[in-house]
Subunit: 398 residues, 3 copies
């Protein structure tokens, strides 16, 4: 008997997440608290099983389709690892951006690639108003295809980063926080600072800060969003954060001072992003094919960025956090002063001190993705864990 | 007991397809009627098993090598799905066209990639006289490699589209027809119109119309090939169609009128293709590296096309078919008026009405490919189905 | 009872290779003679099992990550085949060269891709002093990641070709020699000529000649390295060869005469490579981004090469070998006179006569790679073979 695994099974049995079966994962704030807890619990269970050489393969065959509309190594490998862990083979869809531009083709392509697909993972974070909308089009297409008898199964969609949220990243971040603080029940009243930081590049997606304030406000924490004037995130997501904070007994506040955000913080997440309004302008310029306009916008944004080089996670700032020991988070890769750039998001000595925790933070992502797939594809996940334990297949033959 | 599966097994036991074992699939007209029926039967059986969550994995390991000398999403995913369904992992061979230009290297490369390959799927449809010939070179190379003890197994070749035939597409089309009409025995005397249609692009392969007249003439149907003057297909394939029609008790005729072809048709397949003679000229121009000549030919062909914009599958034409309800087929993607182009192969309302059947038509392809592989690699396919049923492994753990 | 398999198991039980568990494979000369023998024995055992349709899948899930910093078809397929044979799914890491240039990112990337990786295969042979060093950085990163609890397992590194050695190629070559001569015990006193040969291309890696003299000197053979003046290999590797020869009771000598090397040779390996000193200059020019300098160097090297067109493996030279029947080796693809070039490494009639043995030589590589992985990942390889035999799973369902 594996008491730890049994604990996860018991916990799942206490949670209500039946709505996740045959569902999709678009945005964390569309899921209930118990549904998120189910993802964390299953992620922990799958990791525990793998650490103990117990196979978690629930598929004998089947494809996991990935569509990355932006370069990616980390998320690509996380998705591939998650699929592989469950028994699905990854097939990349390398479609040019133009080829799936209009609705007609999205519907058709989505069906054509899904005859044996159990999951579709999409990363589409470049243009405001587009990425999440595109994912919903894909889901509607395969739902219809399944209803029409075209597809034997409806593949589940996993949002691997869109213009609004980055749920697999933020859920992995959160699971890392939960482990670091010894459980979600210890997070009430903790202060987390999601702050903008300077980077020499421009146009980084908004999905991480938005995902963080949309998710972290659900655990009773005091969530502070800090950025220079002009670096606002989507107002809809701020509204979500405000509402979440009210419901969870925490708070959501904003400041234009990095120092204020760091003051007595338990967790800090300093990271560059582009202003929401600028990203909207960029989206329109791309739609118009206005290359000159894009170049001009880029120049303007870099100049704007350059005025805020002082937004850096320094040792000095870190000393102002709770006992000088706030948990430092980053989705990686970070822009590190004197390492990957002259001036960046974080001082090298800070980054170095948190390197191992940062890698651990990242290590949760494959399990989070696998848990999302598992919950969407298996009717009785707790029973399935039990059955996998009884099956007792080794992951690696020894 | 699964009576439906047993039905497929019984049917296989009545058919003679022993020649397919250790064989390859180049052209449908090289196969006997019973061999084709075995492919259809096995495709249906594999689909039935998957629908009932019964594993069809016959390989514990092994590679499925794909070589696409033309961009492809649909066929690529169909091949990947078929391999995965049987337990093979797909490896793409991304060789530059020039690198495998001469016979010496074909022989060597074919062996070097085949040490653990059970199937090689090739799409090579661009140049007249080249694609099918290349596939035969590959097969000869691996046959010799196997005979010489270099390869532990002879991979089977599946023609994923060549200059002559598109057997996986046309077999999927045919299985869709069989299901729509309630069995191959109901096809005698049915009229099918394979007709050219206008597209704003040029140079589409001849493999579909050729494959269709080469295959559909074997079921006692009245097959009509319609195209504007100058859009002839390969005369050798027309000869095959004529011979097939004679043997099956059907007919094969030609017309330069789309209206005549549609008149009282039970099935219509309106689709653009390039004139055979022009494709031969293009092949020579490419061989000579004559960029100017290619540009001039393209211009000429587009002008020629533009004179036939009236070759479109309209509602008006559809009304002239049997009860106004002919089954509309297309290999997808189609050029749809007002959707993917101004003038194209089909009116949007016609396409929309047949969208679900069209997607179903496409959904047979992975199973057709899987059946072709299965028949080439398993000595006793009927016995194997029986054994798979007895093994009773689930495709998806529930 | 399978007496042949039992023979391999017994042999493994007599050998000491415990150090290979959880280890890596960088250079053959870092391994003991018994360790190399274990690789050969296990490669033979895996091949025997596959030939007899016995599954060798020791992984139920897990990734095999490949990183090719140079184009590759053959090695890529060999690695994919080896991973697949053991149950691992290949994921290619297509990182741009610049992105992983500095140490910081190597450490991070290595961990980010390894959460579920059991093996990392790297080919990085372009720049002197870089490839092998890079592999060691990767290993240090994942070793640390595993120690820190970031990675559940330490992936094993397989050197798929570096600036110093090409162990999977040379081990496959050696296993081919062993089979050809009826056992390693028959190699004492045999003469093997590793000689330079002319190729119209320039800049071919040094890893094959270096790997050959570093490995073949360990079996009591008389190893002769022949090349024109100015085509020296790394002096460190010559020192290794000299030391090996002394220890094994063979010899290592050098000559500037191809004829002398071929004289009474039992085995010949004529192959082009670039001078070590020139490759060092090229590495520096690339580091400086000196495009003009690189162009000038290329021109100089091609002119230097052109003075040695007489270094070709001709029928005439072959007649001077032992009974005119030396075993001809090449890592493929070869530059064949009148086939792939006007003047090249070998006359077409010589190559043709040895084509089948050459393909067999290549066919050992997937098994060598699989054996390296197996020995690094399985604690008791002999016991595992026994258990696999008892499990008795078929590779292909019949």
């Amino acid at each position: 008997m594996d008491a730890i695994l049994q604990g996860y099974i018991d916990k799942l049995n206490r949670l209500n997440f039946r709505q996740m079966y045959e569902g999709d994962f678009f945005l964390t704030w569309e899921k209930s608290g118990e549904e998120l807890e189910a993802v964390f619990t299953l992620a922990d269970a799958l990791r525990h099983m793998r650490e103990n050489n117990l196979s978690t393969k629930i598929f004998d065959s089947g494809l996991g389709v990935s569509l990355f509309r932006d370069n990616s190594t980390r998320t690509r490998f996380s998705f591939a690892s998650a699929c592989n862990l469950l028994g699905l083979e990854v097939q990349d869809l390398d479609e040019g951006k133009s080829q799936i531009a209009h609705g007609e083709t999205v519907r058709e392509t989505a069906n054509m690639i899904s005859f044996m697909a159990d999951v579709i993972g999409i990363r589409d974070d470049m243009y405001i108003g587009k990425g999440n909308a595109y994912m919903r089009q894909v889901v509607e297409a395969v739902r219809q295809g399944h209803a029409d008898g075209v597809l034997e199964q409806k593949p589940t969609l996993v949002n691997l980063q869109c213009d609004i949220d980055h749920p697999t990243q933020c859920m992995a971040d959160m699971l890392h926080i939960i482990h670091t603080f010894g459980g979600a029940e210890h997070l009430k009243g903790k202060k987390i600072a999601m702050t903008w930081a300077y980077s020499p590049s421009y146009g980084k997606p908004l999905s991480v800060p938005q995902g963080v304030i949309g998710l972290m406000t659900r655990f009773g924490m005091d969530v502070v969003l800090a950025h220079p004037e002009g670096y606002e995130v989507m107002p809809e997501v701020e509204a979500v954060a405000r509402k979440n904070a009210g419901a969870s007994g925490g708070s959501f506040s904003k400041t234009h001072s990095m120092a204020e955000a760091f003051q007595e913080a338990d967790i800090v997440y300093p990271k560059s992003w582009a202003p929401f309004a600028a990203m909207e302008r960029r989206t329109k310029l791309y739609a118009q094919g206005d290359a000159e306009g894009i170049k001009a916008l880029e120049k303007e944004l870099l100049a704007q960025n350059a005025r805020h080089k002082d937004w850096c996670c320094t040792e000095e700032l870190m000393r102002t956090t709770r006992d000088g020991k706030a948990l430092y988070l980053h989705c990686l890769p970070a822009d590190i002063n004197g390492v990957s750039c002259v001036d960046g998001e974080v001082e090298a000595s800070v980054f170095d001190r948190y390197r191992t925790p940062l890698y651990k933070q990242a290590s949760f992502k494959p399990y989070i993705i696998a848990a999302m797939i598992f919950l969407a594809k298996v009717k009785d996940p707790a029973g399935a864990l039990k059955a996998l334990q009884e099956r007792g297949s080794a992951r690696k033959f020894c």
